[in-house]
């Protein structure tokens, strides 16, 4: 008489996890497709955005009162620096080209490859 294989509890748990994940995804997906969910979600997002905007405004005022730059001002300066760096790089490239200084030549492979079936 054949002895039934010994159940592997690890495999059973893994299988259960897969089933739970599938159920959670399906159920969650259905809930999230509903208009009520969309309304609640965007309501929460709008509230978070209002709070964030108010906080930014308050911080900007407080920093201005302390004679310090705000985060957005620092970001603007950083962005301007990045633009200047990019412009310097472009100018450097142009000057090098005008002066005939080429970047180190990399090996350039032949562009004659054909697909394996069509090789001569």
């Amino acid at each position: 008489m054949a002895v039934p294989p010994i159940p592997d509890p690890g495999a059973m748990l893994r299988d259960m996890l897969g089933q739970w994940e599938s159920m959670a995804n399906n159920f969650g997906g259905e809930v999230m497709k509903s208009g009520e969910f969309g309304r609640a979600l965007q309501g929460a997002n709008a509230a978070a955005m209002r709070a964030q905007a108010a906080t930014h405004q308050m911080m900007d005022r407080a920093l201005a009162a302390a004679n310090m730059p705000s985060r957005s001002e620092v970001e603007d300066i950083s962005a301007r620096l990045a633009r200047i760096e990019e412009a310097v790089q472009r100018i450097e490239g142009l000057l090098m080209a005008q002066a005939g200084i080429a970047p180190p030549e990399r090996p350039r492979p032949k562009r004659t490859r054909t697909p394996p079936g069509k090789a001569a």
Binding site: G10, A24, N25, G29, K33, G38, E86, K110, R111, R113
Partner: protein
């Protein structure tokens, strides 16, 4: 018979004990060590301009196909999904198969780039990348390969400006019917979602906001994924793969404000690409004008771009040499990981090889 079963019990018990030990030992290592270095294939940065980067990967063969490949990444994610680690890198696979590979990748837009719109991506960044690829290779023809929204940008560019230079166009899981992206539709429901408020408040659409949207498409996945990680901590390959994909999936980029506003209005709300009313900077987009050979690869179990959202594309393209292939896998496993190595990559190399001389 009980004698035959006995070794199974001992083997299983020993295996579980070993794994439990390994979990404890390697669990500490997991938190103490950095993840694998991603996107490390040798390359030159040809353009670095704000949110745009253009890379040229160093060729890995002495003889390459005449037509270079330009990979166009989706604007929400990092391009290293195409170049994970050696042995699991599409870029490396293409290089070893004899292609000259470039990639148009994206950086987080700066605060002063909040005004970038669709026209900047389609009529400035993409043409600049193509022009640089032409200059670098001395070839007029270019093959463009776009992933997800990178595919949408490639389609828009190809329809408006691609004709003189586009040799082949390949899109991976590229949506055209945005009404069928049900979860994103709920997220961006115009009755409740105030895109103007979001853009006006934040400037750029925050990456966290997009990350949450992606995460909510599969509410059970994160918890189940972490339990699986714990279960497989003994398995170095599993852990390496988990870390790569987890890092990439959480590395979501912010989107330039105007670009986000415009894509939400034109695509998510008005579904203009499907209805044939899409325009970029006032120039009407007609996908039937794309006549270069075209390949569209979609995934059977894509939770981000479901088949229904990408299926109409093939009929909208004007090319006579066009093909739609649906492969097993999901939105990410289609292009990276073991599934992609077996399925997509060889198919892509074969399809492109015949059309790249």
């Amino acid at each position: 018979m009980s004698e035959a079963a006995a070794p199974d019990i001992f083997d299983a018990a020993r295996r579980e004990f070993d794994r439990a030990m390994q979990r404890n030992l390697k669990g500490l290592g997991y938190f103490a060590s950095p993840g694998p270095a991603l996107g490390a294939s040798p390359k030159d940065v040809l353009i670095q301009r704000g949110t745009m980067s253009l890379y040229h990967y160093h060729p890995m063969s002495d003889e390459v196909y005449r037509v270079p490949i330009l990979l166009v990444m989706a604007t929400t994610n990092r391009g290293y999904i195409f170049d994970m680690v050696p042995g699991q890198s599409l870029v490396e696979y293409l290089l070893k198969s004899g292609f000259d590979v470039f990639m148009l990748d994206w950086n987080p837009p700066r605060s002063d780039e909040r005004g970038l719109a669709l026209k900047d991506y389609v009529l400035d960044f993409l043409p600049a990348a193509v022009e640089r690829v032409q200059r670098e290779t001395g070839e007029n023809d270019v093959t463009v390969v776009g992933y997800c929204f990178g595919g949408v940008l490639s389609l828009l560019w190809a329809a408006l400006e691609g004709a003189p230079v586009l040799k082949n166009l390949v899109c991976f899981t590229t949506p055209v019917d945005f009404s069928k992206m049900e979860m994103f539709q709920t997220w961006a429901d115009k009755r409740f979602f105030d895109v103007d408020r979001l853009v006006d408040t934040f400037g750029n659409c925050p990456g966290d906001y997009l990350y949450t949207a992606f995460d909510m498409l599969r509410p059970g996945a994160r918890v189940a994924g972490n339990i699986r990680l714990l279960d497989n901590l003994w398995n170095d390959e599993f852990v390496k793969s988990f870390r790569m994909f987890d890092r990439w999936a959480s590395d979501v980029l912010p989107l330039a404000g105007e670009y986000f506003r415009e894509t939400t209005r034109k695509l998510m709300w008005d579904n203009q690409l499907l209805h044939g009313t899409m325009d970029v900077a006032g120039r009407p987009v007609d996908l039937a004008k794309i006549t270069a050979p075209f390949l569209h690869v979609t995934a059977e179990h894509d939770h981000i771009v479901p088949s229904a959202a990408s299926a109409p594309l093939i009929d909208m393209i004007g090319a006579t040499d066009k093909q739609q292939v649906t492969m097993k896998g999901g939105h990410v496993s289609l292009i990276a990981g073991g599934n992609a190595i077996k399925r997509l990559w060889p198919t892509l190399v074969e399809w492109l090889g015949e059309r790249s001389t």
